[in-house]
Amino acid sequence: MNVLSRFYYQYRRVIKAVQLYLIIAGPGLIVMIADNDAGGITTYAATGAAYGYALIWFLVLLGPVAYFVQEMTVRLGAVTKHGHAEAIFEAFGPFWGWFSLIDLSLVNWLTLITEFIGMTAALTIFNIPPAITVLIVIGIMMFMILQGRYWTWEKLAMFFCLLNLVYIPAAFMVHPSVGSILQNGIIPNFPGGINGTLIFFLMANIGTTIAPWMIFFQQSAVVDKGMGKKDIPWGKMDTVFGAVFTVVVAIFIVIVTATVLHGMNIESAGQAAQVIMGTYPYVGTLLAIGLFDAGLLGAICISLASSWAFGEVFGWAHSLNNKIREAPWFYAYYFFALITAGLVVLIPGAPLVLITLFVQVIAVTLLPAALVFLILLLNNAEIMGEYKNTLLQNIVSTAIVIAIIVLSTAYAISVLFPGVFA
């Protein structure tokens, strides 16, 4: 009886912890899964096609990298109750504030276009014209935010996060060799030796791991959700789960393309889905659904990151808990960015490839600044109090930030000057 009651007590504790987590869960999970956006899916698909299973170990390493950066935004948001844009204005003054805000809005708008490119490519496979796709996306995103509740928006976003799991059954359906995955993918190796192409792929994978909008989005989401200091451990846990989730999904995408398309030159996830459709129609369909979902999740987070940032700085009401009439500028900016980005994709002959490449370059003008500000803020005892970075956290996060800055800059340069590292 005693054993039974103890078991029941433990069971109730676990259930309560899970319930509490589900209430707190959100920003970390969403930002990490949205990190696998349309551009990310293309990078993973191309990596699998080019190197087979050989770079899976590298994707595993990227999980902790993303966690260490994003975890800092949880602490900063929960302690200061300010988004990242406002925190930069307050701490570093108007010059760095305006620089970050303007750069963020430009990068985010261009990235939004790339999300629309991915979504329209995905639904073209099902013969849905791009104009209809744009309308569907705007309709979904309008429905999500017009509820006037952060909680509803968050749970709808989490539904789309779950849809990201379609890559797992897709990987099983192509019957990959588990032995080959374990043999070639788990132990760190550099297939074909270290050369320009390999470095380009490694840099591209790092480039998709941390994007400027992720830092701004998670910190603002933590504030909008109303998380406080006591919620920090849960926020961290949420971010850990998100990091694990995003790595798992990335690995399964690589497994699909490594099994079916190894040796092919894949330039976009849409192209990968279309080619796979020829031999595995169901897998191709799942990939196309996954690509649409990835673009949608990216668009959901990116457009909000910009609106939150502008709302914080300009002093507009800027919460998803506000109705449109309570926060007209916040929603106006949100829809302006969304609709204009969607329209660009519909312009005949628009330089979409150039835009996709340009995003990588513009992103590196903001990413180092956002990361450096993050570390400086997290080291300020007056702002962070007992939640400031410890020595170990500083060593790890500084090393990660330096690596990200160097590699993402090198990636941008290789986009500008192809073959420079050959």
């Binding site: 204005f89 701490a91 003054g93 108007p94 400086l376 300020n380 800055i405 340069i413």
Partner: protein, 74 residues
């Protein structure tokens, strides 16, 4: 007859555009004023980090300018 002079205020029709810009520029001025004093303590590490960022951005702009130059020359 008295000639109407456009004003920057919102009271007259001709001054509406001026009023709009005045209102919005004053908003920017307010934001600049509000955040004029950086709250972070300007320690040596902070100064070095900010200087490094400035240099990084200057180099990046030069690289972008060089790319633009090579594109134009082609």
């Amino acid at each position: 007859m008295e000639k109407k002079v456009p004003t920057n205020g919102n009271d007259g029709e001709p001054g509406k555009a001026g009023g709009f810009f005045e209102k919005h520029f004053s908003l920017f001025r307010e934001i600049n004023k509000k955040y004029a004093e950086p709250q972070i303590k300007m320690t040596r590490a902070v100064r070095i980090a900010l200087m490094g960022l400035r240099l990084y951005l200057i180099i990046l702009v030069l690289v972008l300018g060089f790319k633009f130059y090579t594109l134009v020359r082609q």
